[in-house]
């Protein structure tokens, strides 16, 4: 086995460890050279390949606080890096609620993606969708609504969200009709102002407690 230089650290928000954060180690050119997921206390250990010196760390945070955090590898004292989410922005509650009056068969899923957070450069923000292994994600996270709403703590900044309920026949009855997918056809802020549509979803600015409303419409799924 070759010797590897480990990078140890913690992802925190106001000193609280953040579990389920995916930490990426980047080389000087911005390429992902290693990744690890934080444990219950927010700690992580990165093991880059032999001879590779990570220069930057970037964490995709899907724990209690949704967001991102980045720092240089050498910022930590005593060989341990602390990636402080609060260094980039305070966290605020974001509530996304359906306005549909009809009952949907299942809970829709909400995808969240931070587009701009604090002082993080746009080029760095793109790492939130960096491909790791075979998985090429299109959002930071995907979570099911509960009771027609979702409540998340997210970092202050500009966020993209998309709500939908996508289904198709997998096991199929002999007399199956068309399956139905629900997609959003409008979203509004607390004052009723329509949100800007973007890439099938909407943009929302989070600078304090934020509530948005979204409406879903059924779309028949075509079959071949």
């Amino acid at each position: 086995m070759s010797e590897v230089a480990e990078v140890r650290g913690r992802v925190t928000y106001e000193s609280q460890g953040q579990p389920d954060a995916e930490v990426l180690a980047l080389d000087a050119a911005g390429g992902v050279v290693a990744s690890a997921t934080t444990g219950p206390d927010g700690s992580f250990v990165l093991r880059p390949p032999e001879g590779i010196e990570p220069a930057q760390l970037f964490a995709r945070c899907r724990g209690p606080i949704a967001g991102v955090v980045t720092d240089s590898v050498n910022s930590g004292a005593a060989g341990e890096v602390e990636l402080r989410m609060d260094a980039h922005g305070k966290a605020w509650p974001l509530e996304i609620r359906l306005t549909n009056e009809e009952r949907l068969e299942h809970d829709p899923f909400v995808r969240l993606l931070p587009l701009a957070v604090g002082d993080i450069a746009p080029e760095t923000m793109r790492l939130v969708l960096a491909t790791v292994g075979e998985a090429a994600q299109s959002a930071l996270e995907s979570r099911a609504m509960s009771g027609g709403a979702i409540d998340r703590q997210v970092q202050a900044g500009r966020w993209w969200f998309r709500v939908d309920l996508a289904e198709a026949w997998e096991a199929r009855p002999i007399d199956a009709g068309e399956s139905t997918t629900w997609i959003s056809d409008g979203a509004w802020d607390e004052q009723g102002t329509p949100l800007q549509a973007l890439r099938g979803g909407y943009e929302v600015e989070v600078n304090g407690p934020t509530r948005v409303r979204v409406h879903l419409s059924p779309v028949k799924q075509a079959s071949d």
Binding site: R126, L129, W169
Partner: protein, 520 residues
């Protein structure tokens, strides 16, 4: 018992001392001492006062006929001390003959004991000679054997017990094994399988047979008397065939009482765990596959594979009665089809490609539903598939199990056929998401959506066959007017006995009560 035989009177000369009519007072003292202080004390006393060993001569007036009468009277009264004294008067050549008139071995032994105790050693030797001949010799051997056998049993010397048991006759082996408790029989069986197996070969079959019989008796007792923990332990020790029969024969309340113990005590790969869980679903399974006609026109089908007395075929392009093609099918035709069932597992992936055909990775962001199925499911990658059970079943896991209404996966079920058919749709929302890139990302030119199906044929609680099918669509646009044609490609198929670990995990996630299927 004592037996009088005709014989000549004892021969004596006139010079021989006459015999007296009753034991001398010293003998009476010895007998009294024996009664009060025990034989050893008497023996010690005799050792110190050897004069007691010799009795005075009989009275001169006694005739041989009188002696005979007195001797036989003593014998008939069981007065062995007196009998020994009298027998000692007879010439040596008659002693054995007279002693042999006592046919009961136990009485002879007692006779001998009292003779020796009274110092009538010649009499004792004569009796010993009788005892050394049939039938007494065999009787004594058996008594000694019984004693040793009981000692070995009480001291739990299992090898010795097994060895001694082997020396009995066949009938006595059975008699003695019948006396043993179940744990003792288990010890003997263990001995017959151990390093002394060859020596104990004679015991191997009867020991195991008696152990099995006793095991069943105790099992019946434990179940009938609600001794559930003991019942579970005993059920666990039954042979496969017995366990199958006994668990199947449990009543509903009995299996309800036993199941929690079994699930706590054994892992879910265990045979008893599997059987008890299967028994718990007896009612569900009775109506699991109602008769239904498939109505499919079968397209290209694989050569039939022999499975469980029937044949399994996989078809890749079947057409339903409305003329819609593109169905794939898994068909078992043969006996006992009503006890067959198909379990289908599905892993889905959506791979993105650029214009040059380079992979851009798999879209794993979305969580979607299958129509008619409550469980949300993730999208996986080639190396990390996300498996789900694929059925409309609300409470049963088979492909043709009904939802909360009466809708069920397309199937054909009869006494001689158990077939399932599927024609999944691609998920257009995932296709759209895969094509919809951010401005800094490489444009996606093609999305290949693959559904990997694995179908297990189960017979009762046994997994017997595994087949697979890949359904693939290749999209070049998120907004194409028509969905591209599917390609159904049969994959590996063959006999199987277990669900793979990922498939079993998917089953447990959605149907946590269905745990009887063999699995890794």
């Amino acid at each position: 018992m004592y037996r009088r035989e005709n014989r000549s009177p004892p021969k004596r000369t006139e010079t021989e001392p006459a015999q007296k009519a009753s034991p001398p007072p010293e003998v009476a003292e010895v007998i009294a001492l024996q009664h009060s202080a025990g034989n050893r004390a008497v023996a010690r006393s005799l050792g110190q006062a050897n004069s007691l060993a010799r009795q005075p001569a009989p009275a001169p007036t006694e005739t041989p006929a009188d002696l005979d009468v007195r001797y036989h009277l003593a014998i008939s009264h069981g007065d062995w001390a007196e009998a020994a004294n009298l027998l000692d008067i007879y010439p040596p050549e008659e002693m054995e003959q007279l002693a042999a008139e006592v046919t009961d071995t136990d009485q002879l032994v007692q006779f001998q004991f009292m003779a020796n105790l009274g110092g009538r050693y010649r009499v004792g030797e004569a009796i010993a000679a009788v005892l050394s001949r049939p039938p007494h010799a065999e009787h004594i051997r058996i008594q000694r054997l019984e004693h040793d056998w009981n000692t070995a049993r009480s001291t739990e010397d299992w090898y010795e017990l097994a060895k001694l048991t082997c020396t009995f006759s066949d009938a006595d082996i059975e008699k003695h094994l019948a006396m043993l408790h179940l744990p003792e029989l288990q010890e003997l069986v263990t001995e017959t399988k151990g390093p002394h197996a060859a020596e104990l070969l004679r015991l191997t079959e009867p020991a195991e047979r008696n152990r099995a019989r006793k095991h069943l008796e105790m099992c019946r007792f434990a179940i009938d008397n609600s001794q559930w923990l003991y019942a579970v332990t005993l059920l666990n020790g039954l042979s496969d065939s017995d366990q199958e029969t006994w668990v199947a024969g449990l009543t509903d309340p009995q299996v309800t009482a036993i199941a929690p113990l079994v699930y706590t005590m054994f892992p879910d790969q265990d045979r008893l765990y599997s059987r008890v869980n299967f028994r718990q679903h007896k009612t569900d399974l009775a109506s699991a596959h109602p008769a239904v006609a498939g109505g499919m026109t079968i397209g290209s089908a694989s050569p039939g594979a022999a499975v469980a007395g029937g044949t399994v075929t996989t078809s890749a392009n079947d057409t339903d009665s409305s003329g819609t093609s593109g169905w794939f099918g898994q068909d078992y035709s043969g006996p006992d089809a009503t006890n067959m069932g198909w379990l289908q597992f599905l892993a889905r992936e959506a791979e993105k490609f650029d214009a040059d055909g380079n992979s851009l990775g798999f879209d794993t962001s979305m969580v979607t539903h299958a129509a008619g199925q409550a469980e949300p499911r993730h999208w996986g990658t080639a190396s990390e598939p996300y498996w789900t059970v694929d059925t409309l079943g609300a409470s049963l896991p088979f492909y043709d199990s009904p939802d909360t209404g009466s809708s069920r996966g397309a199937s054909a079920s009869s006494a001689t056929q158990q077939a399932m058919y599927d024609r999944p749709d691609p998920n257009q929302s995932v296709v759209a998401d895969a094509f919809d890139t951010w401005f800094w990302q490489t444009d996606v030119a093609k999305v290949v959506m693959r559904y990997h199906f694995v179908d297990y044929l189960v017979h009762g609680r046994e997994v017997v066959y595994k087949s697979s099918m890949d359904v693939v669509w290749s999209f070049t646009s998120a907004t194409a007017a028509t969905t591209p044609a599917r390609t159904n490609t049969p994959g590996p198929a063959g006999p199987a006995a277990k669900l793979t670990a990922p498939h079993y995990a998917a089953l447990r996630r959605r149907f946590p009560d269905w745990r009887y299927f063999g699995h890794e």
